[in-house]
Symmetry: D3
Subunit: 249 residues, 6 copies
């Protein structure tokens, strides 16, 4: 069940059966010379929507499409929230969904740069309860899609070299499978991009002139992308089921 394509009475009825909601969350940011700017929010959306097609009982929220990408701001098309803004927005999403009775809120994340801020937000949210000796009526979970059981292993076997950290062939392949009419090509060199620390935007652009980190995205193709999606679907459904069924102390 996709929330945005449902009516409120449908969600109301569904809440009698499940208290879990999945939020695809990502970022809109440069993904190298060939990657789509939406890659990091499209990937979790693609996987979550495909999982919902497999098992319609999965409740999927609209996609949280702008995250923390300050280091990519020297590349056109990147849109970033400051961490403090990102924290406020996640908090309001959680407050809204909790208001309706969702008790297990699962963020399926598509951007490594979001992780620290999402975790800090969870602590900010929990702190409201921890300071007053009360328990929140919800549990929060963050899962990167590539950390779903079995997925990273598959990615590594598909792309044994040049997988890298940013604009990886895995994520680009996933978007190619979903948007084959948007596949782009470009010459770039070196074939495998360099690695290095991530700091501010100008430092990033100086280190990684075409935006890639450690990757060779030309290895991507839609077939490999579909394999990743096909592996991620059952992994996500199992992971969400485990989260839904977890007994709290």
């Amino acid at each position: 069940m996709l929330i945005h394509l449902s009516s409120w009475p449908e969600i109301d009825a569904r809440l009698k059966q499940t208290k879990t909601v999945v939020i695809p969350i990502g970022s809109n940011e440069q993904h190298g010379p060939t990657g789509l700017l939406g890659t990091d929010w499209l990937c979790p959306e693609i996987i979550a929507h495909a999982a919902e097609k497999t098992d319609e009982s999965l409740v999927v929220a609209p996609t949280f499409n702008i995250g923390m990408a300050q280091h990519h701001l020297a590349f056109a098309g990147t849109i970033s929230l400051r961490p403090s803004t990102f924290m406020a927005a996640i908090t309001d999403w959680v407050s809204s969904l909790s208001r309706h009775g969702f008790e297990r809120i699962y963020f399926l994340n598509g951007h490594g740069g979001n992780v620290a801020t999402i975790e800090a937000t969870f602590s900010e949210i929990y702190a409201e309860w921890s300071f007053v000796e009360d328990r929140p009526p919800f549990v929060l979970k963050l899962r990167n899609w590539w950390d779903l059981p079995g997925v990273m292993g598959l990615c590594n076997s598909l792309f044994p070299t040049g997988h890298g950290m940013h604009a990886t062939p895995s994520e680009i392949a996933v978007t190619q499978a979903a948007y084959p009419e948007r596949i782009k090509t470009a010459d770039y060199s070196p074939q495998i991009a360099p690695n290095g620390p991530i700091r501010d935007a100008l430092d990033y652009r100086a280190r990684f002139p075409d935006g890639r980190i450690g990757s060779d995205p030309a290895q991507a193709n839609p077939e490999k992308g579909q394999k990743i999606i096909d592996a991620a679907i059952p992994a996500l459904l199992r992971d969400v089921a485990g989260f839904s069924n977890e007994t709290l102390p």
Copy 2:
């Protein structure tokens, strides 16, 4: 050109030709017994993407899908930002797009409840410059899709009675044209919903038990929706062109 389905070099190249970007912005909130929760962000997205198909030179950002909907929070599936959060997020979107050289930032809005906060945000952003005797490198514009020239007149002629204020047949028809497989039906009464003030969520639900205000959405059908979309496309393109070409004093 849809930013999220483009690469950064494509946006970089496009910025040599245009400095204008359109952001579809809306809300994810209850739309009565039959309307989709995503109605208010789907409508501007549908119109902006259709306009981009007509004229690919239009640069369209990802959709800002969660807005200010605190008064709908008593209906399941609604997700709202607090006005202060909404303001921070809009500010960061503007800062990001301005960073790349966009000088005319056009918000195509799909939710009346967003208007006050978006306008307050524009003032908050401008104030940074007004306090220091400097000019911002961008101009901001808010346009509700139903206020595009000619659109509201069409809506009124299509739905002479029972158009109302919320969960209107117009907006529901637009989503039906784009998502015909998601058309929902329901019995409701009275046929035309009541009107009244908008305050907090429980007050809202007490006044408007099924979520509608003043509307009879059963009048919607995909054909009427398509007519509205077809009228909105050229109106949007002309409105954006006028904004792009406006001479500043």
Copy 3:
């Protein structure tokens, strides 16, 4: 009863009879070559205090004299709050008055530029309750003094041309009636000021060099101002009574 000229036991006693309070709210900002900088907070204060003289049972708070006027900051004497500051301050006023038992809080506004931020603030305040499924112990209402029933019709009949949007003859006439010793004259041209969009302060000053928008304030005189005040007094008393007596769902 003017709160600031009363003692706390007097307010305490009055709260046994009424739960409604009126807050004159405006802005301190340029009003063209002849208008007083205080015009926008003086007008609602003048009307509210005159109404209180007519019916002493009206409880009037001190005047909230600084609002959102960032666009006027290029003219000397303007004092503006950022929207975010304005929101925080209104929130604290509401919290204070609610603390004492006021349940209907009515803002009589004198500045169009305040409207968006005041409405956003109402939503910010209501959101605290909407997120937690509770009802606030108060209801908030915003009324511009020129929107009191009958007032704008009178203004238009008094000034059929050159009324305009800012530094209008209506508002200047109201201040002339109350402060006849402060009437100012100046040459200006064109006789009727231009219209245009409102953005940042330097853009504003470039478009509207003497500060007026669409108006010819030389038409103002104290007699016309008194007529407006005389029309506004009973309209305000009726509007406040209607608000006080409104049944909540």
Copy 4:
């Protein structure tokens, strides 16, 4: 020159002669069984406006009438800003006045409870400059009206016993001189109110049941109030002149 009763060209012209502005600042809060709720903002307003009548070259801003009075919130009619809100608002006033070229900004304060927050605000404002090795284009000064040279000595001689800390006969006398038609009487006991620490609102009300601290306000009369005003006027003018003429290092 009172800013709110002037036009912007008048302020513009005056700024060629002086760079100093005086802001009366106070609080709207209970002042015991007989004191006006507005006492703390009326007193600095009365004194500043009287000084402006004596020397019209004094530029006086509108009165900042709501301050930090959380400890008085258990008494009806009190309106308080949180310290954080108060800080934001003062900052915006300073930014606005500095924008026009005022370089010496003098706060004439009427409420002891404001002092800590105003001083903290000055530091918050200065910090913006201190962190970046730059100098602010303005200097800020806080002066309580009773600390103007000679004033407290006069108050003590007029009220040798029962002057106290809150709802003092001095401040009440000042308001009586200005608003003789608003003089109130009440029985209270003990004749001189107790002293004690100031904490939250319920603690305050438990310690000081009628609101007074250490004072016997029945000693106030308009004549004594006028003497205080008459002493404060030249003291203020000299103090402001000294501030205006101070050479910066």
Copy 5:
């Protein structure tokens, strides 16, 4: 009992006997040509830890070592919080300690520049309760170590001239007693530093080129420092006992 050198079960057990905690709080800022940058947080730490050695029942929190020192930022080594940050941090300390059952929270302060912000913070904290007609479960107290009964008198007798306001021989002597291996000497002139107002950092450095205000710190020696410490210990223990035993209304 020093909290940071105890285990949680030890604190848990101690809370059965006392509800009072002492927080040494200060600043890390320049202290003239010879003073340690840590002087203002070392002094209250030295005194509180010495008092805890005398009476182990005293519960002492870790030292809050960074305060409000924006005016010292033109001198290397100074670290300052903005007042707003300082307020947030103090609030979280109070929330944490209150969470465990501490009901009397005593700040032993070592920096005059902290006083306004700490007091504003107390009001910010209390305001949460004052706005909602509830009492906080704790009482807050601020005491500067030099204001402990008897201490300032001793300081003045030890240093009858050149005590001054900043980098005083008293505070430097206290650090010399505790850190005799860190005694520094320097030539400076004039022997007694000038006095003047405190504003932003560059203004401060221009007025007070070596950082001192009104002081002649060369008079300090460890023996005098030890005398001050010895006087402060019993004064602190008595002051804390009085605070612990105070009956609330």
Copy 6:
């Protein structure tokens, strides 16, 4: 060179030779039945101060002793900042140190729970520069002391079982080496504490009743702690040197 035990002229002189500063940062939180509440800020302080004794050219700031520990708040003595407060405070430390010319700011961290918030803060700080196409005048680095090269390997060899995640024998041993008079013992069971997710404070206490996660801290002794310190000292000095000498692109 310890900043807090130096004078400002000493820091000023040192800044001519080095632009790097090390900030020990941790948390004050429960560490199981035997660990000191200060463990997480004492460990990096112990190591950094020991390194400074070895190589006095190392500039060490005062210890940032309170971090993000909301999940430990159900255990007495824990003091936590909210993530948002923590972010503001770190930002002000960085602004202060950068103001003096420090260009490489190295945080030696002692608390795993701090990592997400510190990284989010770095992004918040960098974002100020990334949004405006400018480079910050400093580079930030976070290093957990146990991640210094060679340290974790040593810890694992010293404690092959029962090292765990919280209240580890490693960290407790480090504090025992530095504070041998504060070694505590307690019976606990199970010998090795359970593992599990970290959420709010009551959830934490329910899962980990004595506070430990996965650890058996009774294995700690001062000798092992000294070995860890001895390994960490040269590793820290080399890591800081590498950071200082890193060439920026």
